[in-house]
């Protein structure tokens, strides 16, 4: 979205002055309203769609597959997304997928995916980002959060649960009960990670930045939030033109801002009653 020099100077002065004045008058921590729906796709274990005010939209489907594993304790999760308009495996797509994949792998206890000693679930998280004006990272992460909340994994068939753990292995491929109602939710005891992005303009930090705000930003910072703590931090390029530079002390300010923002988002997303 090429901005003219006059627009750029207007926006950068507005955003870097103290107190800053965003083009739509929002506070530094204020989010634009989102439209969210969960459990919308019949062929998935869990699904969600989130749409932003500026037309940005993301659909995520979570599918689980049964795989035989040798090492019992590692977590098999694959995150992949298709950003429409960009070539496959573009740098932006790699950022989104790798950030979320490592976040989920580090936080998901492997016992949740265990079926029998020999068999595990492998979780595929696939997202399509239909349109994005602002940076798609937060959009993709919120939709994945909601889709994981909605994910249900089928339980073993009742007759094969009779024996204790180890003799279940002799029965070969595990049989599952076909009654979808008695499947249990993945996120009963675990809440998924949430990745949030903030942009830094001068000394100010802004959350949920619009496309034009990102165009005048000096840099971006993402935090991975899990179980009430910030567990990951990373500097992100938010403008594809010149190199971005920002002062070190705005990082601590940004982390605080992102922590409180993540707490609110997690609360709001949890209230959405997943079907």
């Amino acid at each position: 979205m090429p901005l003219s020099l006059t627009e750029e100077s207007y926006l950068s002065v507005s955003l870097s002055q103290r107190p800053p004045c965003r083009p739509d008058g929002r506070d530094q921590l204020q989010f634009r309203p989102i439209d969210a729906a969960a459990g919308i796709l019949p062929t998935t274990n869990g699904s969600a769609r989130i749409r932003l005010d500026d037309g940005g939209e993301c659909i995520v489907g979570v599918k689980a597959e049964v795989i035989a594993v040798s090492r019992p304790d590692d977590v098999h999760v694959e995150v992949d997304c298709d950003i429409v308009g960009l070539l496959p495996s573009s740098p932006l797509q790699n950022l989104l997928c790798s950030t979320l994949e490592t976040a989920i792998k580090n936080s998901l206890p492997s016992r949740l995916l265990r079926i029998t000693t020999k068999y595990r679930y492998k979780i595929f998280v696939d997202g399509i980002i239909l349109d994005h004006v602002s940076h798609p990272l937060t959009l993709f992460s919120m939709t994945t959060y909601l889709a994981l909340l909605d994910t249900r994994l089928p339980r073993l068939a009742p007759d094969s649960i009779g024996g204790n753990d180890n003799d279940k292995d002799e029965i070969g491929i595990p049989q599952f009960s076909s009654d979808w109602a008695d499947s249990d939710r993945l996120c009963m005891s675990w809440s998924p990670p949430l990745v949030q992005l903030a942009i830094i303009v001068g000394k100010n930090v802004f959350v949920d930045a619009t496309g034009e705000e990102a165009e005048v930003s000096d840099g971006g910072l993402l935090t991975v939030w899990h179980d009430g703590r910030v567990v990951g931090l990373r500097v992100v390029k938010t403008r594809d033109s010149s190199k971005q530079v920002f002062s070190i002390n705005s990082i601590s300010n940004a982390v605080e801002v992102l922590a409180s923002a993540s707490r609110d988002i997690e609360k709001a997303l949890k209230e959405i009653r997943t079907s």
Binding site: L41, T43, T44, G55, G61, V84, P88, I128, L130, D131
Partner: protein, 245 residues
């Protein structure tokens, strides 16, 4: 392969309980993504769900896309890995997807009154989020609705439907299980007329069974046209009442 009885019971009931000439649960909406596209639609036919965004007619982005006497249409199809029962990530140049794109593109190059917009381009983006048979027909119907929503002049709706033949029984609008169990054809007609824009048959069938299949598919197309037409009218009325221009 599902046994014959299970596909079509002697009492004339199919797996999902429909009779031979019933269309699956058809639901559509237009103007679903007004901010991110000029025209948009969502279609649900049974469990097949397709989203379509149309951008244009607009200034061509690539010089190679400019056609001097008419609009150039390009179709892009994204199949979600989670759309089928087993998760499958399709390679970018999957030949089946490319074939579908080129059929849809040719169809709408003729259905749109193309000579009104020389040297401009229309981009059609289709997203298949759930597949349960009749994917090509859902894409065609979704594209028609999205083009109408974008205000692109067209001669008539282009509506599509499938019909299959199990031994001597004609079945209309097949789902995935039925599609894999019998030869079927996909037909697209120009609105309520008897003009066929697209006809695709992929499995061998006796010649004298072709006529009833085509007749059933055609009546399916006309029925789907009425369903789409009523949705467009309903949407138009509600916009007129709401907006105070």
């Amino acid at each position: 392969m599902a046994s014959r009885i299970e596909i079509y019971s002697p009492e004339g009931l199919r797996i999902d309980g429909r009779r031979w000439n019933e269309v699956r649960h058809f639901r559509c909406a237009i103007n679903t993504h007004p901010v991110s596209s000029d025209g948009s639609s969502v279609i649900e036919q049974g469990n097949t769900k397709v989203i379509c965004n149309v951008i244009g007619p607009a200034e061509p982005t690539l010089r190679s896309r400019v056609i001097s006497d008419r609009v150039s249409i390009s179709v892009k199809l994204v199949v979600a890995p989670f759309s089928m029962i087993e998760r499958r990530k399709r390679p970018q140049n999957d030949s089946r997807i490319q074939e579908m794109c080129s059929s849809i593109q040719h169809m709408f190059e003729d259905a749109v009154i193309a000579h009104l917009f020389p040297r401009s381009q229309i981009d059609v983006n289709l997203y298949i989020v759930a597949q349960d048979g009749g994917v090509l027909q859902a894409c065609i119907n979704a594209t028609t609705l999205a083009l109408i929503d974008a205000g692109v002049p067209m001669y008539d709706y282009v509506c599509a439907c499938t019909a299959g033949m199990l031994d001597r029984e004609v079945l209309l609008d097949l789902n995935r299980i039925e599609e894999s169990a019998m030869p079927f054809l996909t037909m697209a007609t120009i609105g309520g007329t008897r003009k066929v824009s697209l006809l695709q048959l992929e499995m061998t069938v006796q010649f004298d069974r072709l006529e009833p299949m085509m007749a059933a598919a055609m009546s399916g197309c006309h029925h789907i046209r009425d369903l789409m037409d009523s949705e467009v009218r309903k949407h138009g009325k509600s916009r007129l009442e709401r907006g105070s221009f």
